[in-house]
């Protein structure tokens, strides 16, 4: 009798362990990256929830007039940035004040938006949904539309066990999809893992990068989760003072988030207002006399780089492009969910 109970107990424990394993075990942590910052205990990854988040990400139902989806400004083919658009777009042909940032490796980010106004990935989507110059919607109205939709109640049920549609569920699903956007298969990554080698130019560029750039654009994520004044002159048509807008502390004036340098070929133009189209313009900026008026925290005077050295740095930066990530169809438009009829015809 006692032995039977013992066996039953062990069986229950084991099956529970397997179930648990199924929920948390997702291969999105590359071995050469630090551990993700995102707290998965509050939102354990689940394939059904990821699919729901993916559908929401691509569905213009999130915008007031059904014209704009997250993917409108965060296109999968451009590493989830808005290539060739300096400033973000929104409903009614609105133009925003900042460049739509690329979305990848978000699980390692501790603050979101160019000024760090959002502290957690789960609440980030509220900002574009509610912004009158982005999606112009409200979460409450999105919930009503999703409830009335022919597809979503079923997908919420698949994901959460019942078809209740809440703000928490919408936002956490969007987070889950975005957390799977991991870019870790560039040439740089293959070199890091000993599977490839840099050519001489890339190798020179890498050494120069480590000397001049790595303090802020720190390997292997190529950002350091901080906010810096990089000496850009204020664009007087925008008058954007960055982090100061939020904290009203003079120390935060003109500080913007240090962006990752991965996937730069897909994510131009550069800087918080998309003012530079070419990487060389960025390097020219850092080599110019930018610290004359404002004391910069990181750069002690302009970078001393020859033209060839700039070319080498750019050659290295291009090894951070990750076409495997950009063309990974698992992150693309979910036709089977959003256009099920068309799928049937195939």
């Amino acid at each position: 009798m006692k032995r039977n109970r013992y066996i039953i107990g062990i069986t229950i424990l084991l099956s529970w362990a397997f179930l648990y394993d199924d929920v948390v075990h997702w291969d999105i942590q590359p071995e050469h990256f630090p551990v993700m910052e995102y707290d998965f205990s509050q939102n354990p990854l689940d394939s059904q929830i990821i699919q729901l988040g993916r559908a929401l990400f691509y569905d213009p139902i999130l915008s007031k007039d059904g014209s704009i989806s997250c993917a409108s400004c965060h296109s999968p083919y451009h590493a989830f940035a808005h290539t060739d658009h300096a400033l973000s777009h929104g409903i009614n042909d609105s133009i925003g004040t900042r460049n739509a940032p690329a979305l990848f490796n978000l699980g390692w980010q501790t603050a979101f938006m160019w000024d760090g106004a959002i502290h957690h990935l789960d609440v980030q989507a509220l900002a574009p949904i509610h912004s009158p110059i982005e999606m112009g919607e409200t979460l409450t109205s999105v919930i009503s539309k999703l409830k009335a939709s022919p597809i979503y109640p079923k997908y919420f049920e698949n994901a959460f066990g019942d078809n209740k549609i809440t703000g928490e569920r919408i936002l956490k699903s969007l987070s889950q999809f975005q957390l799977t956007l991991v870019s870790a298969h560039s040439k740089y990554d293959r070199v890091s893992l000993g599977m490839d080698t840099f050519n001489i130019q890339e190798s020179n560029g890498y050494e120069l990068f480590k000397t001049h750039c790595n303090d802020c654009h720190t390997e292997p994520l190529f950002h350091n989760n901080s906010f810096m004044d990089n000496g850009l002159a204020v664009d007087t048509t925008l008058n954007d003072y960055g982090k100061w807008i939020m904290t009203k502390q003079s120390i935060d004036s003109l500080k913007f988030k240090v962006p990752s340098l991965r996937n730069l070929s897909y994510t131009y133009p550069y800087m918080h207002d998309g003012r530079f189209k070419k990487l060389r313009q960025v390097l020219n900026h850092y080599s110019s006399d930018i610290s004359s008026e404002r004391k910069l925290q990181v750069l002690n005077g302009p970078l001393q780089l020859t033209s060839n050295e700039k070319t080498d740095i750019i050659a290295f930066l291009l090894t951070l492009n990750d076409p495997d990530f950009v063309f990974d169809s698992r992150h693309h438009f979910p036709r089977n969910i959003l256009l099920p009829r068309e799928e049937n015809k195939d």
């Binding site: 106004a117 957690h120 912004s131 569920r169």
Partner: protein, 228 residues
Amino acid sequence: MEKICLIIIIIFLSNGLHGQTEVRFHAIHQGESLIIDADMDEWNGTDTTIQQFRCYLSGFEFFLNGKAVYQQEESYHLIDFSKDGKQSILLNTPEAITYDEMVFNLGIDSTKSDSGISGGDLDPMHGMYWTWQSGYIFFKLEGQSKDCPSRNNEFQFHIGGFLYPFNANRKIRLKTQIKKTINIHINLDPLLENIDWNEQNHIMSPSTEAMELADFITTIFSIPNEKE
């Protein structure tokens, strides 16, 4: 077998030992209890109307002689004076509890705020989460005042946020007798009288002004003396 019975009895008894304390909130406007109802005559012969009043109250505790004797777990409550059933909360207090003070927060502590989003009363769908920057709105009061020079005489006070340097979370301590139902008054009259309408009718982000208002709001909570 005897052991299992004993455990069941103990569990049953320990549950049985829980009493419940109800905490009811009453917003006072123009000296009277406020109910926000779409059908009512908003002005009703007065100078101000309230069209929306909601707040987050959290971390409910009872103290005796300065020491905590009861703490509610996961204690986050949205109090809304325009929704039925959202003006009172239940605390599972032990039957024999004695206390002389009730303590709670106006707002959501920074640990909870920092941990992303939650459901229930904390779901951002209730419109009590800022969308363009992070943080819950702790205290949302909207209405009109005849003295307010803004468009349609409207005022909006959205007080909240937890990020440095503007954390609006405030502790409120109220002396109380032991009761089955504790009534708490939130007196909007001194708050509205204190406002210089020409200077202040629109606070919608964390700021120094919002911090000052949060300080003032802690003084409008009271437990009136009642005969049991």
